[in-house]
């Protein structure tokens, strides 16, 4: 019995994870709902002052999306650990990093993409100037996969523990500080009419680096956490 070729294995992995995600559509809606709730609460807390809301809109949407992703991050490998399919994956002949990369991609498609889709709506509710909208969407498009990749490494590290919710947030905070700074920096620059492509380019560069390194780190972390 020979192992199936790599592209086939990758697509099978992607299809499996997306199917599983689709079967649990209710869970997928949770982060979106959470983001909407948080974004709606801000105007109530700060008052409907247009200038103030405009000023904070970009940052609020970014932080909201980040928190919503953090909410979903915990579940990235949880069901696979429970039913033992993650250990099968570790033992499979395909390179673990590549397979994990596919899992991260599936997770990003299932949780971050809906958030990006509703982000303009949230930003509109907070009166973000339309001129800053492309910057916000591009920033989200680069920042969310970065968070997924960095988060995946940490989730893999906590794979051997039972409870990890708050710990995950504590570990992710130092890693996501630069991401938030550059994403919010791009939106802020766009709002002030300054050139905003540079921070986006930094995010893109970080994303390329992470796409290569994070799955490898994720695989190493998983080997540590499941090794017993």
């Amino acid at each position: 019995m020979s192992a199936p070729p790599l592209p086939q294995a990758c697509s099978a992995m992607l299809r499996r994870d997306l199917t599983l995600a689709w079967r649990r559509r209710g869970d997928l809606a949770m982060p979106v709902l959470y983001a909407v709730i948080v974004a709606v609460l801000f105007p109530f807390a700060l008052g409907p002052d247009l200038a103030l809301l405009q000023r904070i809109a970009g940052g609020v949407v970014l932080v909201t999306v980040l928190l919503a992703m953090l909410l979903a991050l915990d579940a990235m490998f949880a069901s696979d650990i429970e039913d033992g399919s993650l250990e099968q994956l570790v033992l499979s002949p395909q390179p673990l990093a590549l397979m994990l990369g596919m899992k991260i991609l599936a997770h990003w498609l299932a949780t971050a993409l809906p958030l990006i889709v509703i982000a303009p709506l949230l930003a509109g509710m907070l009166h973000l100037p339309p001129a800053a909208m492309p910057a916000l969407l591009l920033a989200l498009l680069f920042a969310t996969p970065l968070l997924s990749l960095l988060g995946a490494v940490l989730v893999a590290l906590t794979a051997g523990t039972r409870r990890s919710g708050m710990l995950l947030a504590l570990m992710l905070l130092p890693l996501c500080v630069p991401v938030v700074i550059f994403a919010a920096g791009a939106v802020a620059a766009a709002q002030q009419g300054l050139p905003w492509l540079a921070p986006i380019a930094w995010l893109a560069a970080a994303l390329i680096l992470c796409v290569v390194l994070a799955p490898l780190a994720c695989a190493a972390a998983l080997r540590i956490a499941l090794d017993s």
């Binding site: 940490l154 990890s164 570990m171 905070l173 130092p174 500080v177 920096g185 972390a221 090794d227």
Partner: protein, 252 residues
Amino acid sequence: MSTWIPLWLHKLGSPPTFYRVAGAVRPWAMGLALLCGAIGLYGGLVLAPADYQQGDAYRIIFIHVPSAWMSMFIYAVMGAAAFVALVWRVKLAEVVAMESAPIGAAFTFITLVTGSLWGKPMWGTWWTWDARLTSELVLLFLYLGVIGLYHAFEDRRQGARAAGFLAIIGIINVPIVHWSVTWWNTLHQGSTVNVFGHSKMPWDMLWPLLMVMLATKAYYAASLCRRARTDLLALESGKDWVRQVAETEAGR
């Protein structure tokens, strides 16, 4: 393992030997720490003249700056030990890495608190989002993450390896955070504070600082010895040498 590593290092790596050596080193390190600390703080608090700009409030730096140096130095030691632990699976390296974390967190906490206490009279605010302060805060979160991850595992050695991996990721992260916050500050044109107005420090302010720095280094060595000894006892509690230690100390 390769042959270029001297034999005494292998011997030192074995828990009972390290336990003995650390026990012998600890009082000397602690004594050195107390001596240097007393001399340095006497020099800093009494002998050094008041600063012409900051008055006497600058005397906080005699503990603030050494603590800040230690917070980074200990993180580097922890990262290096974690690397050794992950690559060669040396039990002692795991112990050193994980027992360094609380000491480092303590120094980071001291740095943040004394920094605020210094900033209030000097800049008029407890906290500013300057690159140095923010990096220090992020460092504290990294320490707490490492400690938290270590304790989340039931198997101590597995926890040490996972937390060590996190520590290594953190080493890459800290310079990135520092640089990105600097960039962020230039973007927002906010309160950029020059923490060290003086480029050159007069000698009678410098020597107490160096003395306290030496003291904190020695203190770290002493505290690490104590913590590592305790941790080794817990890790190897089934072994004969721990039994002997327990029996000899029962009489006391």
